[in-house]
Symmetry: C2
Subunit: 463 residues, 2 copies
């Protein structure tokens, strides 16, 4: 009896010792979350066909883990009903906070506007570093939702807090979130007060406005708050690791790498006068095929890979606590909205290069979980350049806009944009892909919901 009690006590002591040892010696863990904004299967296949050839492989295709992520949104009320197509604000919120919210919200709860704790805030509490890198404005929805809280993604700077309007129509009002009203101020103001160690991308304009209640700009206030502000790629590479870094490399979104020939985008087929009388009469001429070409505006823009490399250097330097880094290739989405397939392809190439750097970092720092995913599906569809029904004696063509791209392997790839006739196409609702490195094996199931990404990262980093 006494002997078995002794054994039980010994076993308990050993177990406690083991637990404490693990806690003390737990390895430095890092997470690199790469988000291809709007990177759905159509976009990935379009990029594969162009960049690797239809029988080739993207770097994404070589990842050891592939899963699918259901994207969720609700109406803007407590217990709101499901909304089947999301935007980048509610999806980034799901990944950053684990909570499903309504479209347009930045880490705030549907209906109540309650702030939701983000991965960047949790990482800070646990003593980990964090950084956000994007090819969009750093104040745009995806990066913002990982670090700050706002009822509307549109309230990006101190000048866009009250009665934000387009053509005289109000589309947002964040008055209640003004500092004067007890709030935390605009997205750019919150970002420079956040615990972020690094924030790289575009959107300098959003930091040029005068900070609320101050005499200086948000950018100047960032310096007061300890940020080193850089605006040129060369400066980025010169900065010493360990400093808090704010890199703003364009007034708005960063220019993209590729564009259509002479700036062309998807165009409407030109119909004959007879076709206007009846859909089955006359003919329609599709737009001429085009090449993708380097975008001259991209000159002098840091690549996503350069920004990612700087981020990895800064965040890992002399760091035994680990870090959380979010890297966004933003204009897969933005160029799809504008019906510019070459632009999206160039952004996919940028994502691939950033992933290559992340994988190299992980090979040297084995306790690094890499997750690559998308936030929502998008408008573009890879369609037959020659209709499946070309045999039929009637004109068969898209009612929307189409681009016919000459691919390096010598074929024509047609991309259709036909969710609306507005200046920007609509997102779509399909579940999105997720890829991970070997650290994801056994930790990520083949099917998940977007808030699960938050839980996986939080669990991995012990936040």
């Amino acid at each position: 009896m006494i002997r078995s009690l002794f054994h039980a006590l010994l076993a308990s002591a050993l177990l406690l010792f083991a637990v404490l040892s693990v806690a003390d010696n737990k390895p430095t863990r890092n997470v690199i979350l790469i988000i291809g904004d709007g990177m759905d299967e159509q976009q990935i296949t379009i990029a594969r066909n162009y960049l690797a050839g239809s029988s080739g492989q993207l770097l994404l295709d070589t990842m050891p883990l592939r899963a699918q992520v259901q994207v969720l949104a609700i109406e803007d009320q407590v217990d709101g009903k499901p909304v089947y197509v999301s935007d980048s604000a509610n999806t980034a919120t799901a990944m950053a906070t684990g909570v499903v919210t309504s479209r347009g919200r930045i880490a705030t709860a549907a209906g109540t506007n309650t702030p939701l704790m983000t991965l960047v805030e949790l990482a800070d509490e646990a003593g980990l570093r964090s950084g956000l890198v994007t090819t969009a404005r750093v104040t745009d929805a995806t990066p913002a939702a990982f670090a700050v809280h706002m009822s509307s993604r549109r309230c990006e700077d101190p000048d866009t807090m009250v009665d934000v309007s387009i053509y005289g129509f109000e589309i947002a009002d964040c008055s209640a979130e003004l500092k004067a009203n007890g709030g935390s101020g605009s997205i750019s103001e919150q970002l420079i007060e956040s615990p972020l160690d690094l924030l790289l991308g575009g959107g300098r304009q959003r930091f040029e406005a005068t900070a609320e209640g101050e005499e200086i700009t948000v950018e100047a206030l960032a310096v007061d708050n300890g940020f080193v502000v850089v605006t040129r790629p060369q400066e980025l590479l010169q900065e010493k690791p360990g400093e808090k870094l704010l890199g703003l490399f364009a007034q708005g979104n960063l220019p993209v790498r590729l564009r259509g020939e002479n700036g062309r985008e998807a165009e409407a087929p030109v119909r004959s006068w007879l076709n206007y009388l009846n859909d089955y009469l006359g003919s329609a001429r599709l737009p001429d095929p085009m090449n993708c070409e380097p975008n001259p505006d991209f000159d002098g823009t840091p690549t996503l890979a350069q920004m990612t490399e700087a981020a990895l250097t800064h965040l890992s330097h002399d760091n035994d606590k680990g870090f959380f880094l979010m890297v966004e290739s933003a204009s897969i989405d933005k160029q799809a909205h504008e019906r510019k397939p070459c632009g999206s392809i160039g952004e996919m190439a940028q994502l691939e290069e950033a992933l290559a750097l992340a994988l190299r970092f992980a090979s040297r720092n084995p306790n690094t979980l890499i997750i690559v995913t998308s936030d929502h599906s998008q408008v573009a569809q890879l369609v037959p350049d020659q209709s499946l029904f070309a045999d039929y004696p009637v004109p068969v063509f898209t009612p929307g806009k189409i681009a016919r791209i000459k691919t390096p392997e010598g074929s024509l790839m047609a991309v259709n944009y036909a969710t609306n006739d507005f200046i920007m196409g609509e997102h779509t609702g399909a579940a999105v892909p997720l890829f991970s490195n070997t650290e994801g094996l056994g930790r990520i199931s083949p099917f998940l919901q977007q808030p699960d990404i938050f839980r996986i990262i939080r669990g991995y980093l012990n936040l």
Copy 2:
């Protein structure tokens, strides 16, 4: 020296013995390949939202393995250049034969028309049974390419071999494949001469024509060839296992389970007269929301699950060699072509039920590899019911056709069809999902090309 030689010999003998033992005692292995025709991520998400709720899970979502499959086609010539959007003929050929061919071809090579050995033929050579089950005509492209060879999918019966035309326009000619010209005859004639043990679906009309060079119908010839022909679900259940079975349960494709309210499909928004003057003026009225409802034509149709159950019973009965079974949910695709989202959803439900049976069979027969995949992506897009740009003071709506479905969880799900204005929409080119049971783990990588499916099945069955 002698001792080590002895050891080496002993080791070799043991190795040889081990190899022979494995060869002799290799387990009976089965493959169930379930093809959701046109089942892309949009279709799966639409079905998930409707059948399980947006936060729910389909049975597909619980599968332990998920991969993505690049779909490949080429021009109709030797070494033809890539074609980026496929049809069900070339994709079924890729899965059935491991060879990339041109659109419209049934297990024949691009350019040369050389017959390509199919899984059904290989299974027969190895002494395994095989069966094909579909909700389409059994002569349709997907089932056909697993068992027969034809230059065009349109040559389904003896009456559609020469100058096949639509509205007077020739769309196919298989004269060279007439038996009189040294060929093997039409698809229906080849099917009843194939080594198939079981063939269930629709398309009875294709067997009512007089067989070439005979005085009797293809159906009568099937009986002469040893097939038991059944045409009603009750007969299907009564048939004794072990017989060669041809089930033809409709003249054409099997009716689908669900349809839109009162047979409604996606409709064009109704534009105001002002909107015809300029896209940004006036307004557009979207179609009224609708329920999905049971399709009355479905009464008396065997479900895909009933046909799958009969197939599993027949193929596994008293069989120590194993089998290959292909099960197709065909009208996910066909209903998408016709812009009928409820129809596609009902076919997804049928696929789920067939998968449940396959999983039950595999739990009792562990050496059963289940693969669920799609052949190509399709036209439908889940779009926002309320546009992302609804704040803007202009009408924003699809230029194509849209259906707004009331879901069981009380929301509206909008599905857009806008690849053309023809009676049938276009396929799209995105890579397609693949799911497998535990037998697939370690055998199927996260990314593959469609012909790899052939190689995986062939390898698993030792064909």
